[in-house]
Symmetry: C2
Subunit: 334 residues, 2 copies
DNA sequence: ATACGTCATGTAAGCGTTTACATAAATTAT
DNA sequence: ATAATTTATGTAAACGCTTACATGACGTAT
């Protein structure tokens, strides 16, 4: 249907090799030939077939990305950073979503794998450690984002979730809070577990009791945050003075729901988030949260994956630092 | 490097055709042969090469998408809907970003075009009508989102922007507002122009004067909204009682900045947005805005593009309805 | 027993590129 | 003038798959 390189060659009166050389700039071609080729290309509206090229070159110039949900600003930021980085390397992104479901994640990953990507970056929650380890072993260029998998630490792009949440809760305690609730994500994966652990360690470090009835679960979305607001109200405001949340998304929805129920933030309840999404600075009061260097993580993950795919094992990820941002959603108690 | 279908055939003691048939389920194969193939596949960790398959089948099973910026929730929602729809059709998404820049948009589009996509959906602002028309003509399956291009109306997935904004401003007037400022997007494209026009028409319909000094421009982002907040304060709060905004993103940032400057919303100033992003319902006060059926638009755009690519010209888009959602960011004046 | 259809399987051409190698022309050195 | 080198171009194999067509082994109807 569409024109091929042969059509262009025919029209320009040269061989297909010459056309390829002109269009790729891979070798010197006489000015007359070059002009003829470009003219023919223009007239035919011709584009080199990327699939045929990939087959011949054994290199797709494509980076595969798998995230849970593009519409989550956290992933969107990561993808944006990846795209910018990929673009600079003349590569494009093949993006798929797993929606927190093991089956869909696996299907999406298999799809990516069949595309001969120059790199693959995944964020998966549903797939078990065992299955995931198998993939990581078989495809040594897959890079994992925000999940620490035993045996593959140097292909995991993560932050120190435990320390980050420790800092948050430590800060709350310094502000005079003693009864601090915690809302974790309902997915049982590393970052979630680690943040919870940081929360507990901070309490323990200050000789405060860990009260399991103050530890709740929510889906990491605005809907999840709304639901958990009701649960917290049911628990009773006298049981806690602050709520540390797994994410900004949860925190924002929680805060909105509390305020709309007539509960003042931070006067009645202090709230903290995690990620430093734009959303968090738009809220009133602005959310106290943790800067999560997701753009940088996306960029480095991409670079690492490409290096690994090329057999370069010298590339080191480095570490990614978080930082507590104190804004107005936390009240200092006497 | 990676195993090929030949390796599998060899290992399973069958021909490549049989392997292909088993892996694609395209023809009956004896149980013994099937079992042998699947065993060999597993042992080799084999995936069919998607590029080779595309070349042979002349069908990439891939939908190309070009948006301005993935991290804009508006686009993220659209892409999510596209992914869900594509997934149901066993297709995947090739996503690129144009970042509001004509050059980058064109490069991204050219890239998409070279991938033999089964469909292409684009949202571009930088590319001129002339250049865009040329693309639309040459590739009759490209579908345009949120931009009305003369001569290609039935391949444009849009809403009635003018009417929608008319309704917003009409509502503001009904609530007693007479001096209404407007913040438009800084990009001069159809939806922006149309919304502005709706704003003006609503004023005129009520015999109110259109005051150009109350019409401002902002980048359609949270940063843009923050900037314009300062400009509005400079203009002076006595000059207007309400601000209608091109988008929720702008409106949210504007509202936050005003409130943080000690200006109460809606007591001092009423604000309206557009799109009904999640963000808008998280704000306090919740934003009065317009439901923009972006998910549905993404879905239909994808279906249309695939139909066109298949030469099916009977597919009709239908229309996309907006709806005003009245929340708490608008005050009723006496 | 013969002829016919059915079924599982294999053979090989084709998809649109890239690129190693071959070749012919032009240039330079001797 | 001849040989050696450089340069532009062409030829054809290869990339990994799909699939039309061919083939041979069966089962069934006659």
């Amino acid at each position: 249907m569409a024109a091929t390189i042969k059509d262009v060659a025919l029209k320009a009166n040269v061989s297909v090799a010459t056309v390829s050389r002109v269009l790729n700039g891979t070798a010197k071609v006489s000015d007359t030939a070059k002009a003829a080729v470009l003219k023919a290309q223009r007239e035919l509206g011709f584009y080199l077939n990327a699939n045929a090229r990939t087959l011949a070159r054994q290199d797709s110039q494509t980076i595969g990305i798998l995230v849970s949900d593009i519409s989550d600003p956290y992933f969107a930021s990561m993808i944006k950073a990846c795209d910018v980085t990929a673009n600079a390397l003349n590569k494009s992104l093949l993006i798929t979503q797993g929606f927190y479901d093991a089956k869909r994640e696996q299907k999406a990953l298999d799809n990516l794998l069949s595309h001969q990507c120059s790199g693959i970056i995944i964020h998966v929650l549903g797939i078990s450690d065992e299955v995931l380890s198998d993939y990581m072993k078989r495809f040594p260029y897959i890079v994992l984002v925000n999940r620490l998998l035993k045996g593959f630490e140097d292909r995991c792009v993560t932050i120190d979730n435990e320390q980050a949440m420790f800092n948050v809760v430590n800060y709350l305690i310094e502000q005079g809070h003693q009864k601090i609730a915690y809302v974790q994500s309902e997915y049982e994966v590393a970052d979630n577990t680690q943040r919870l652990s940081g929360y507990k360690k901070a309490l323990i470090a200050h000789n405060l009791e860990v009260d399991d009835s103050l530890i709740l679960k929510a889906h990491p979305s605005l809907e999840g945050g709304s639901k958990v607001a009701k649960e917290l109200i049911d628990i009773g405001l006298n049981k806690f003075t602050a709520v540390a949340c797994y994410s900004d998304t949860i925190a924002a929805a929680l805060m909105t729901n509390l305020i709309n129920s007539g509960i003042s933030v931070p006067d009645n309840v202090s709230i903290t988030g995690f990620d430093n999404l734009f959303l968090s600075s738009c809220m009133i009061p602005a959310l106290t949260t943790v800067i999560n260097p997701i753009e940088q993580m996306g960029k480095r993950a991409l670079e690492l994956s490409i290096a690994l795919k090329n057999g370069d094992h010298s590339f080191k990820l480095g570490s990614f630092e978080t930082k507590l941002v104190c804004r107005n959603s936390v009240k200092k108690l006497k």
